[in-house]
C-alpha cells in the first residue's frame, strides 16, 4: 500500500482491508509509535468536519508526524478563487501525505490525479468516506472476532447514507447476509443492491426495526434527516419509527453490537449507552487506530 492513494473503498482489495485492520490492532495496543517523525501530513479541510479532522490529526500526532493545513477553506486562497488543482499541486510540494475533505463529489479522485504524493479521502461531498468504512470494519472485527458470515442490519436512511453504501460494498467480500430496515422513501439504492446480487449474496428488506433485533450480529444505525423528505408530513410519520431503546434489546443475540457513524440525534435513546450492546463511542475511538494504520501503511513504515 506504500504511496497508494485511498479515494474510494474499492481502491483496496480484501487482503488490503485485512492488512489495515491488523496494523490498526497493533496501534490500539500501543498507540504512541513515533514512526513518522520525518513526515509532514497535510490536513486540508475545504469544509469543516471537526470529528474527522481531530481523528486524523490525533492519528498523525501519535505517529510523531508534523501536521499542516486548514480546517475551513474560508480563511485560505481557495476563497480568493484558487483552483483545487493549484492548491493540491502546491501542497504536494510541501507534504508527504495529503488528507482532504471537500464538499464536491469526486474532488478527492481529481486531487489524487494531480498530486505527486498520496491522497487520503476524508469525505468528498456525498460520494465516499473510506476511512469511516475501515473503522466500521475494524469495529465489526473487534466485536465479532471475524468479518465472515455475519448478519448485518442497517437501519434508517439507507438511500443517502454514504457510509452504508461503502460498508455494504466492502462487506460483500465476507459473505454476510444483509437486513435492510428503512422507510419506503429511504431504501437502499439499486446500485448497492446490484452489488449484493453480483456477489451472490442475499438481502432482506423490512420496515420494522423490531423484526431484525433477534437476528442481527451487528445493528448499524443511521440518522434520518428531515431535509431528505419532500413532504414534511412523511418525515413526521417515520421520525420515531427507527429509534432504538433499551427495552427493545431484550431478545437480541448475546454477541450483538450497535454501531453508528455519529453524531446521533435521537435514533438511539440514551438509555442504550449503558448496555453491553452499545459500541458507537468505542467505534469512534477506533477511527484513530485505523487512521494511524493507514498513514503508516501509505508512508511505507508498516
Amino acid at each position: 500500500m506504500k504511496d497508494k492513494s485511498l479515494v474510494s473503498i474499492t481502491d483496496f482489495n480484501k487482503e488490503e482491508y485485512l492488512r489495515i485492520l491488523e496494523i490498526a490492532a497493533g496501534f490500539e495496543e500501543n498507540p504512541n509509535q513515533k514512526l513518522l517523525n520525518d513526515h509532514v501530513v497535510a490536513s486540508l479541510f475545504f469544509e469543516p468536519s471537526t470529528r474527522t479532522r481531530l481523528s486524523f490529526e490525533t492519528a498523525a500526532n501519535r505517529l510523531g508526524a508534523r501536521v499542516i493545513g486548514f480546517s475551513d477553506s474560508g480563511s485560505t486562497s481557495v476563497k480568493k478563487g484558487e483552483s483545487l488543482k493549484d492548491t493540491i499541486i502546491m501542497v504536494s510540494g510541501y507534504a508527504d501525505i495529503i488528507v482532504m475533505r471537500h464538499p464536491r463529489d469526486g474532488a478527492a479522485r481529481w486531487a489524487s490525479e494531480v498530486s505527486t504524493v498520496p491522497v487520503i479521502n476524508a469525505g468528498d461531498g456525498a460520494n465516499q468516506h473510506p476511512t469511516q468504512c475501515l473503522l466500521d470494519m475494524y469495529s465489526i472485527m473487534q466485536t465479532q472476532g471475524t468479518l465472515d458470515n455475519l448478519n448485518i442490519a442497517f437501519i434508517g436512511d439507507l438511500k443517502y447514507g454514504r457510509t452504508v453504501h461503502s460498508l455494504v460494498q466492502a462487506m460483500c467480500s465476507f459473505n454476510p447476509t444483509f437486513h435492510l430496515v428503512s422507510p419506503e422513501e429511504l431504501k437502499l439504492p439499486s446500485s448497492s443492491k446490484m452489488h449484493i446480487k453480483n456477489s451472490n449474496l442475499t438481502y432482506h428488506q423490512y420496515t420494522e426495526l423490531a423484526d431484525v433485533i433477534p437476528i442481527a450480529d451487528i445493528i448499524y444505525m443511521t440518522r434520518i434527516q428531515k431535509e431528505r423528505f419532500s413532504d414534511p408530513l412523511d418525515y413526521e410519520k417515520v421520525k420515531n419509527s427507527y429509534v432504538l431503546d433499551r427495552a427493545m434489546l431484550h431478545n437480541c443475540k448475546p454477541n450483538m453490537k450497535i454501531l453508528h457513524p455519529l453524531p446521533r440525534v435521537n435514533e438511539i435513546s440514551e438509555d442504550v449507552d449503558e448496555t453491553p450492546q452499545a459500541f458507537y463511542f468505542k467505534q469512534a475511538e477506533n477511527g484513530v487506530y485505523v487512521r494511524q494504520a493507514l498513514l503508516a501503511a501509505i508512508a511505507g513504515v508498516k
Binding site: S8, S83, L84, K85, H102, P103, R104, D105, G106, A107, R109, W110, D124, G125, A126, N127, Q128, S191
Partner: protein, 153 residues
C-alpha cells in the same frame, strides 16, 4: 430525389471519408465531436436526406481526412449506426462501423451538478457500464449518467 440532394450523395471525393447513416438531426453534433468545425479541408454535409434503411439520415464528406478507431467511437453516443467509408483515388478502401467505447472522455458532461467536473476545469471521464442502455459511470463522483441525461460538453 431532388437534384441537389442527388448531387450531394453522389459527389465523389478523391481522397477522404464519407460518414454515412448518421441519424437525422445529429449531423451537427457529429461535426462538433469530430472537431470538423476546425478542419481546413473541404467538408460537405447534408441532413434529413432520404434513406432506404432509416427513413431520414445525415451524411458528411471530408476530404483528405481519415479517422482512427478512437475518434470513430467517440460518436457512438449520437450516431451508433454511422458508417465511415474511406476513399482513396475515388475508390472505397474500407468501411468502418462505430463501436461503443469502454471509456468516454471529455465529450459528455456529468449530470451530477455537485460533481467536481462541473465545478472546476476537470475533463470528464466515464466508464461505459452498460453499452446497450448507455449508462456512464463517472470516474470522479461515481454517479451514473443515463442516456436521458446525456449532455455534450
Amino acid at each position: 430525389m431532388k437534384k441537389e440532394q442527388r448531387h450531394l450523395n453522389v459527389t465523389a471525393i478523391e481522397n477522404g471519408t464519407v460518414i454515412d447513416h448518421i441519424p437525422a438531426n445529429n449531423v451537427f453534433k457529429v461535426l462538433h465531436i469530430l472537431n470538423l468545425e476546425n478542419n481546413k479541408n473541404q467538408v460537405l454535409f447534408g441532413d434529413n436526406l432520404d434513406s432506404k434503411k432509416y427513413g431520414k439520415k445525415g451524411i458528411i464528406k471530408v476530404s483528405n481526412t481519415y479517422f482512427d478507431a478512437n475518434e470513430i467511437n467517440k460518436i457512438a453516443l449520437v450516431a451508433p449506426t454511422a458508417t465511415f467509408i474511406e476513399i482513396k483515388d475515388f475508390e472505397v478502401v474500407t468501411k468502418k462501423t462505430v463501436e461503443v467505447p469502454d471509456q468516454i472522455k471529455s465529450i459528455v458532461k456529468c449530470f451530477n451538478p455537485n460533481c467536481i467536473t462541473n465545478v472546476e476545469f476537470v475533463p470528464s471521464h466515464f466508464t461505459v457500464v452498460d453499452k446497450e442502455n448507455m449508462k456512464l459511470l463517472c470516474h470522479y463522483c461515481e454517479k451514473i449518467t443515463g442516456r436521458n441525461n446525456i449532455v455534450f460538453a
